[in-house]
Symmetry: C2
């Protein structure tokens, strides 16, 4: 079995590539999984995307993204739920088990209310997701995004919500960049156990070039990714390990180079070091 | 009693001002407390600073800062502890009850080890602080600083450490910018209770202009400061409320204007709205 059997490329990592370029690039690099974004799927068309995935023998690790639940009106809340129902249908057609949720922030500075709306929305979506054999993956974001992207900022919160539902309906997505700082990380990964539906890898560069578009390639920052991967494995997660890096400098590099770098860093910083001894030539 | 009886100006908010300008500015604006920084005290000299504080009838709410405990060698650890002993002595001479601790980050990416070193350092400092009638105030920083400034990133962590010590030796400093995102904030403020030794106010601007130097004036961001102040009051804290804003654009404004703006925003966003009815003139 290949060392890259669990590797997935989230297509945001090669943002300049079209859907077709991304899928063909993964096939060339022998990366078996790809994480897709709804707008890119819409760009090529759902049907053609599915056809190309089959032709190239690629699997979809997750679809990004549902969520953004807190709204300032009931009408907007319902309209957004509708959009999330469509996202679940798209995930099912793409053959992925996971719709990633970026839950959204408070429109009016009331974090508690936003958190209630998020829990309510997930409860409405979960049975529909289950009918489509899609799991909702709650992704806690780094607290730096609490004001504009997600009122769910710790794995503990995500676990609290996920536990309200059967594990075949709702789980959590662990992204290294978002959770590495958390003093409760190890305990909450262990608690998440069979609820883990995604593991994203990237790095935290010091100082961060930009909160949104300055995430690092594995090994360029301070996160102990190998240790985190061990903890996620120990909790029982055996699914794809998805590389998702929003970084302007990386986007400006040629896509094939990015994929080669990812594979190299994945071996160096995420997998176990090879146990085979280095071959040495001794003089006779 | 003045509405500004609890107001304190942390001198970093008017970073362009010298110590003398800062103290004279506070006296002119009738702000009774000032939060000082060690390097600025060194600039004017400790003795002259103390003399001027007395002359102007100002009190020191806190001295910034001790901390930065995790180091990569035992020698560096001891040298840093020595520096913290000097900081405690300076705090005592300045007549403040609080030395603010910014605890420091992991030199080698090992957060757990860094956290152990922090707890160990505080245990070594606490009795010395108590002898000088100074409390160590553990300030959890926003997780955005986990890699370079503080491995202590939640109030829960700070409370966990503080509770290992008598409340007259070690407490916590709550800074709105650092903690507002935390889903456990209310519970941890209530838990902190008599351990709270400082309350800092500022705001989280969206999007943040810069993690370090883009903190907002109260009212310019998304934090519900009045609600947080109520929670801190309800926990039993009756001490100074210190305005600490690191912001390049504010630094470029004239100091007296900054102080007037602070007083206005303090009334509008932090204190209770006045209950006195607005006087209206009716035609006879």
């Amino acid at each position: 079995m290949s060392e890259f059997a669990r590797l997935s490329l989230n297509q945001k990592t090669v943002d300049r590539w079209t859907m077709r370029e991304t899928l063909e690039g993964c096939a060339r690099a022998e990366i078996p999984f790809v994480g897709l974004w709804r707008e890119k799927v819409a760009g090529l068309g759902l049907r053609e995307t599915v056809r190309l995935l089959r032709e190239l023998d690629l699997q979809v690790s997750s679809l990004c993204r549902g969520g953004f639940f807190p709204t300032s009106s009931q009408t907007a809340f319902e309209a957004n739920l509708d959009d999330n129902f469509r996202a679940i249908e798209a995930a099912a057609k793409l053959g992925t088990k996971v719709l990633v949720l970026v839950c959204g922030a408070a429109p009016d500075h009331d974090l508690n209310k936003a958190r209630e709306m998020i829990a309510k929305a997930i409860a409405k979506l979960a049975p529909f997701a289950a009918q489509h054999k899609v799991k909702l993956g709650i992704e806690p974001l780094h607290p730096i995004f609490a004001a504009d992207r997600s009122a769910i900022v710790t794995l503990e919160q995500a676990n609290d919500i996920a536990e309200q539902h059967p594990p075949e309906q709702v789980g959590v997505v662990i992204d290294a960049y978002h959770v590495w700082w958390d003093p409760k990380l190890e305990a909450q990964i262990a608690r998440a156990a069979k609820q883990i539906v995604g593991f994203h890898i990237d790095d935290w560069i010091v100082p961060i070039p930009d909160p949104l578009l300055g995430r690092g390639m594995m090994g360029d920052g301070v996160i102990d990714l190998r240790n985190m991967r061990r903890a996620v494995d120990a909790a029982g997660y055996t699914g794809p390990i998805e590389v998702e890096i929003f970084n302007r400098a990386i986007w400006d590099s040629p896509g094939d180079q990015i994929l080669e770098r990812i594979k190299q860093r994945y071996l160096e910083h995420v997998l176990e070091p090879s146990l085979e001894p280095v071959k040495q030539e001794y003089p006779v």
